[in-house]
Symmetry: C2
Subunit: 390 residues, 2 copies
């Protein structure tokens, strides 16, 4: 049953191959001092950097830069960015990149005026900001995380080997605007593209495999999953397929902008396992999810047969005639596995650099969620990680 909830997503989205025009509409709403935030420099090679900097110049903005934001942004990088934003007296943080860069900008936003260590406040004690936050805008260049329309920010602490996400409550922490030009995603390497595709799909799964409510979210999720399966196949056949890439971009936004989770329980255990693997291996987020998903889902399936059967029938078209519910349910996961292999996803954590001696540590650092069909204990987590090795 749909419970009590509130919903508000005020992010203004500009979508399409002309989306950058939206930046000209948005920039005048903010003060002069902009901090431009980006990653490894691919945006300098493909012309996006130049286009953004030109627009900022035309609008008379004073620009400082935080460059080199890594795929798993670290807490040290966060401290560095906070200093730059403070010195520049930033009026707007403009993230140009994928989910990591956008997450990072949100983490800087809540930290600039925070009177204490933001890691301790937001990622250890999980508190909400009680200081003024800075507005964030986003020019998205990679698809998957949905960071462009939510208030989540994942930060990694390499000292403690922890990769932790905080989904902030206040919608003011969501990007005020996001520029979604599917063309910007065409130059992303194929393995990052497919990792992003699986990230989208898994975001939907995390919200779908919880409860047995038959509510609006289940139906929307099934529609979105079918769309991602179809568009993922098309993009994998031809990564230059603008239509497929634009459908993936739009699906990613809706997979994780809080709509699907309204009024229902959610799981997020695949993300907890994947993030723990990521903290040890620095592997690409979507690949860590892919590598642990099937051992996890096959483990919990007996506790949520009804929903896994529904998934098999409504998403993958499995015919349930003459089968037990569990057989039908398992065929759904087999179909998922087939699609994942078709995309060329990494299907085990060994290939991501995890070794047997790491497993105890990864298991110990895996945050245990309680929303799924079975709350795991540490032994089960270790078992799933062992199964994920090969």
């Amino acid at each position: 049953m749909l419970g009590n909830f509130s919903y508000c997503n005020p992010t203004k989205l500009y979508f399409g191959d002309q989306a950058l025009d939206g930046l000209k509409t948005e920039l005048p709403k903010y003060g002069k001092n902009v901090v431009l935030i980006y990653g490894g420099g691919s945006i300098k090679r493909n012309g996006i950097y130049d286009a953004v900097v030109q627009t900022l110049g035309e609008q008379g903005k004073r620009v400082a830069e935080i460059a080199g934001v890594m795929p798993n942004p670290t807490v040290d990088k966060l401290y560095e960015g906070v200093e730059i934003a403070r010195k520049h007296q930033a009026d707007l943080l403009l993230a140009v990149g994928g989910g990591s860069v956008c997450d990072y900008a949100k983490a800087v936003s809540v930290s600039v005026n925070c009177g204490e260590d933001p890691w301790e406040k937001y990622y250890v004690r999980f508190e909400e900001p009680d200081c003024e936050t800075l507005p964030v805008g986003c020019v998205l260049t990679m698809v998957g995380t949905g960071s462009e329309m939510n208030a989540g920010a994942v930060i990694t602490n390499p000292h403690t080997k922890q990769k932790i996400g905080h989904v902030f409550r206040d919608e003011k922490i969501m990007p005020r605007f996001a520029i979604l030009n599917p063309r910007y995603t065409l130059t992303v390497p194929r393995d990052q593209m497919v990792a992003g595709i699986y990230d989208i799909f898994n975001h939907i799964c995390e919200q779908y495999f919880s409860g047995e409510d038959d509510n609006i979210s289940d139906y929307l999720s099934e529609g979105l999953m079918r769309a991602v399966v179809q568009a993922g196949r098309a993009a994998n056949r031809d990564p230059q397929d603008y239509e497929a890439r634009s459908n993936l971009m739009w699906a990613a936004t809706w997979a994780l902008n809080t709509l699907l989770s309204r009024g229902k329980s959610t799981d997020w255990m695949v993300h907890m396992l994947g993030q723990a693997v990521g903290a040890y291996t620095d592997a690409t987020h979507g690949m860590t999810l892919a590598a642990v998903s099937l051992p996890y889902y096959r483990h919990i399936l007996p506790y949520g047969v009804k929903q896994f059967k529904r998934f098999a029938v409504n998403v993958w078209g499995v015919d349930p005639a003459g089968k037990t519910d569990e057989q039908t349910a398992r065929e759904g996961l087999d179909a998922l596995e087939g699609w994942m292999k078709e995309l060329g996803l990494v299907m085990n954590i060994s290939q991501l650099g995890a070794t047997p001696d790491m497993l105890e540590g990864i298991a110990a650092r895996t945050i245990i969620q309680t929303g799924g069909y079975k709350t795991l204990d540490r032994e089960e987590i270790l078992e799933i990680l062992k199964e994920s090795l090969a």
Copy 2:
């Protein structure tokens, strides 16, 4: 292919049986003078009026009232409300009712500071407001129109026999907040409940039966339609089924809050036909849509066979094996017809008070849309209306 578009829906929604608590959070954001807007007085019988007035009192608001907003709000009622809002120097317009009351509040919002006749400006010339508009809040008591999270406002001019909707462009005209308590809808008479259910379903159809893009919207629409079919059946079996009524309420919001139409073409011809019938008969909106839908869809089916086939297979589970595409497509509409009859919808315009002598006038006042699979001419409109008589 998803085209260029922008998306921004800042309405804050409070959902669930405790949703009215949200009013306490929202009211302090606005000034002292509130105009309370409602319809025929059912909210006085079921206690909603008292609960809202009590909350307004606790917050120290000065309240004026616009009562008696009719199911098809007239332009004369609009002029009356504008006077009341002006005299009261309204800081907030609080609509308590269904889509008509919420539409009406938005029409007052854009008219209070409008220097000329709002009917001429907004409903004849279709201009956007260039004056200050008033914030609107909404406590929803009837489900269907989606007015709680969009910028649309339908007004009827009985003098010219026109019922016209204007979807304003600026998201500021959307309600700032909406209180969605499914319990408030339990006392709605059965015929109004089912009319609302068909209104939801048809909103999705109007956006689905246009183009052949296979984009995210198609998949989301199919998910939502399946959800509405299921929840509609459950609510029809037992109108007191809170779960079914809450799913319908949430589906209605998403069926018409601009998400489904992003980046794609839309039709809206069923609404144009239904509204023209409504202007002559003053019949319930959802019933007018039901009464003209099947003659219209059967007429245009040959021009959009691919999408009607998809609708048959993905929404109604029609098996296409051994059938022509057109046969499969027609079976989908037969399935829709079966569901509509199950709900007890009015399936012809005679029952709504339309007579053969009205048809020429209705046809002449039907606004012709160009987004569907076939742009109708006046003769085809007349033909469809004739078929809708029986």
